[in-house]
């Protein structure tokens, strides 16, 4: 217990550690705030017209579909159409109807829209005779936000890894690691102590992050807690592995970056691409964060029973990695 207190004391003195634990919480708060900003109009079309070229009823008609921006000269309009960061469609009068202009490098949806806009304009009266039923479907933007929040949560869980790795590497660099070798302490107790600080920090940071982002029932909270605890444990263990493998601070940082990228990229990629192949889908579960991500996503979708599988997978990860680490460090000790 006393030695644990020493560990905590050294953490509190290290501002870097404290900041790394706080960072995901700040990120979660920002994401929560971004929730209130309306991004829906971002995907709307943008039409560019020349001043006095297009009749006012045409402008009103265009405004049904998107934003209309008026330009003073032809050059300005062409520059705006060719500007690479926007997908502006130029509109001009052509006989009784309208014509459109494109830069030619737009995504397919904007090219097709520009190609069909004059036809829509010609048919504008008949097209209006229709009945519309807007389907209730989860908003695409909201899905992305969930993904970002869960990714933040994984970063929060990952903080335990960063901390443990840094802690072990700095002990190595200061020579404390050699002192630890001859301390009258059993190997497993040493590992547990090293684990606990990063694990507790990761847990705490992710629980606060989760509280900032989500509101849920007691049962969901219990599931979430289990997921957080298990994944923080795996992350803290990963930190020990990194600490063991890396020789110096530089290589340590490189390893942490690679592992972090892997932990975040795999589930996010799976979310975006949706790998259907069962072999690939199973392979992805070799990365522990995939199980955590899927579990939390299932919780958010309102089906906690689905996340039981993810919890079991995470649990298996915990046990396998823990014993692997234990056996590796035993072997090393024998060599010493």
């Amino acid at each position: 217990m006393k030695s644990l207190l020493y560990q905590l004391k050294s953490v509190l003195r290290d501002k870097f550690c404290l900041m790394t634990f706080l960072l995901p919480i700040v990120m979660a708060a920002v994401l929560n705030f971004a929730d209130s900003v309306d991004f829906t109009s971002v995907g709307d079309f943008q039409f560019g017209i020349l001043e006095d070229n297009v009749a006012s009823h045409t402008i009103t008609w265009l405004e049904r579909y998107g934003r209309v921006i008026v330009y003073g000269t032809q050059e300005e309009l062409v520059d705006a159409i060719n500007e690479p960061s926007t997908n502006l469609i130029g509109v001009e009068k052509e006989g009784n109807g309208i014509g459109t202009m494109l830069s030619g490098d737009e995504l397919d949806i904007f090219r097709q829209t520009a190609n069909t806009l004059p036809i829509l304009y010609d048919q504008r009266k008949s097209v209006a005779q229709r009945e519309v039923l807007v389907l209730e479907q989860p908003n695409v933007m909201e899905g992305f936000q969930d993904m970002l929040i869960v990714a933040t949560l994984i970063v929060a869980m990952f903080m335990g890894c960063t901390f443990n790795a840094m802690n072990m590497i700095s002990e190595k660099e200061d020579g404390v690691a050699y002192v630890n070798e001859i301390l009258p302490m059993s190997r497993s107790r040493y590992i547990l102590q090293k684990l606990i600080v990063g694990f507790a920090g990761g847990c705490l940071s992710s629980i606060i992050t989760a509280c900032v982002c989500f509101r849920y029932s007691l049962q969901e909270f219990a599931f979430m807690l289990i997921l957080i605890v298990l994944s923080s444990f795996v992350a803290a263990l990963t930190g020990l592995f990194i600490g063991k493998v890396s020789a110096g601070m530089m290589t340590g940082v490189a390893y942490i970056k690679i592992i972090m990228l892997l932990f975040i990229a795999v589930p996010v990629l799976d979310f975006l691409v949706e790998f259907q192949h069962p072999f690939v889908a199973t392979l992805l579960y070799l990365v522990p964060s995939q199980a955590a991500f899927e579990g939390i996503m299932n919780l958010l979708a309102g089906s906690p029973e689905l996340s039981v599988k993810d919890i079991l997978i995470l649990f298996a990860h915990c046990i396998i990695w823990f014993f692997l680490y234990l056996s590796i460090s035993r072997q090393k000790k024998k060599k010493v």
């Binding site: 490098d105 949806i109 807007v134 479907q137």
Partner: protein, 330 residues
């Protein structure tokens, strides 16, 4: 000059031993794979698909772009699968349009577009004002982003790591008593990083934009790369000299990469325009690089003046801090 050559060789050797070049090569391969096998393939967004349930066959003129489905259930299933699609239910003598909407205006266009496909119409093609194909644009876009990210994130980290190593080994203090000009110590570092960044930029552009397009844009791209590289290298040196150890630096680094790069990317690549972004120095550099990639003439003399002032100012600050660090020895 002989001394400068020796310093240069020492820096190159230090970077080789720090696996810096190996890391750059790794990133180059990673980026090239990502662009050629990932980004180009997944980034296109197609027009909405239209599905129609028309049991009585009332819509005889419907375009071939409309997918006919045999039952109402399958219409629902198709829309559930493809949440960007539009459904038309033409049963019971009326026309009902079904879609899920992200925004009112986009929804309105979806519905009108779907209905317009029910009639024969002439084919129209929009007038093309630009010279690039979508793939060319996508390649330039992503190459520009990757180069910017690589220099802000990876290059910055590299120079700081080298300086920290030398600081810890005491090389900086040894330099104080060496018979070389002090500016050379900094100049040799910046030269090495500048050269490696330039080579990286050339290779990245060549592999990802393509040989024929690269020739025209390369001079402009290299000029912008040089500015960014020198600015980042100098800031890296300043951070490394001011901060106590590498751990503190990683935090500063994280803040810089996340909070400096994110708004710039958002503002420059999406229709989201942030009001205050013109006060963001990196935004102008990014736009400079982007203008170079797209052969646009957006870079004003004022921008170049700003770049020169930034480089000069940073160099003066670096020199001052560097001398102070050396002075600790005396």
């Amino acid at each position: 000059m002989k001394h400068f050559g020796a310093l240069l060789m020492k820096d190159v050797r230090l970077m080789v031993s720090g696996k810096f070049f190996l890391m750059s090569l790794g990133f180059l391969i990673l980026y090239t794979l990502y662009v050629n096998f990932g980004y180009i393939r997944f980034m296109d967004v197609g027009m909405y698909q239209v599905y129609m349930y028309d049991p009585e066959g009332t819509q005889k003129e419907a375009s071939s772009l409309v997918h006919r489905v045999p039952s109402e259930k399958e219409l629902e299933a198709a829309l559930l699968e493809d949440d960007n699609g539009v459904g038309i239910n033409a049963s019971n003598g009326k026309l009902q349009v079904l879609y899920s909407e992200e925004s009112k205006k986009a929804g309105c266009h979806k519905a009108d577009y779907a209905i317009s496909l029910l009639r024969q119409s002439e084919k129209y093609n929009a007038r093309i004002m630009g010279i690039q194909t979508p793939e060319q644009k996508a390649r330039r876009d992503i190459t520009c982003e990757l180069l910017f990210f690589e220099m802000i994130a990876v290059g910055f980290l590299g120079i700081a790591a080298v300086i920290f190593k030398e600081k810890n080994m005491g090389v900086i203090r040894v330099c104080a008593i060496l018979p070389v000009k002090r500016n050379w110590f900094l100049l040799s570092k910046i030269t090495v990083f500048l050269l490696s960044d330039l080579v990286f930029a050339i290779l990245l552009t060549l592999f990802n934009v393509g040989l024929s397009d690269t020739a025209g844009i390369l001079p402009g791209v290299l000029l912008q790369t040089a500015f960014l590289s020198i600015i980042m290298a100098l800031s890296g040196v300043i951070c490394a000299l001011l901060l106590k150890d590498f751990r503190q630096f990683t935090l500063a680094y994280l803040l810089i990469t996340i909070f400096a790069a994110t708004p710039v990317f958002m503002s420059a690549n999406t229709p989201i325009k942030l009001e205050w972004i013109r006060f963001h120095p990196f935004y102008h550099i990014y736009m400079g690089l982007k203008n170079a990639y797209f052969e646009m003439s957006g870079n004003s003399p004022l921008y170049y003046l700003g770049c020169l002032i930034a480089v000069g100012g940073l160099f003066a600050v670096t020199l001052y801090i560097f001398r102070r660090e050396m002075g600790k020895e005396r």
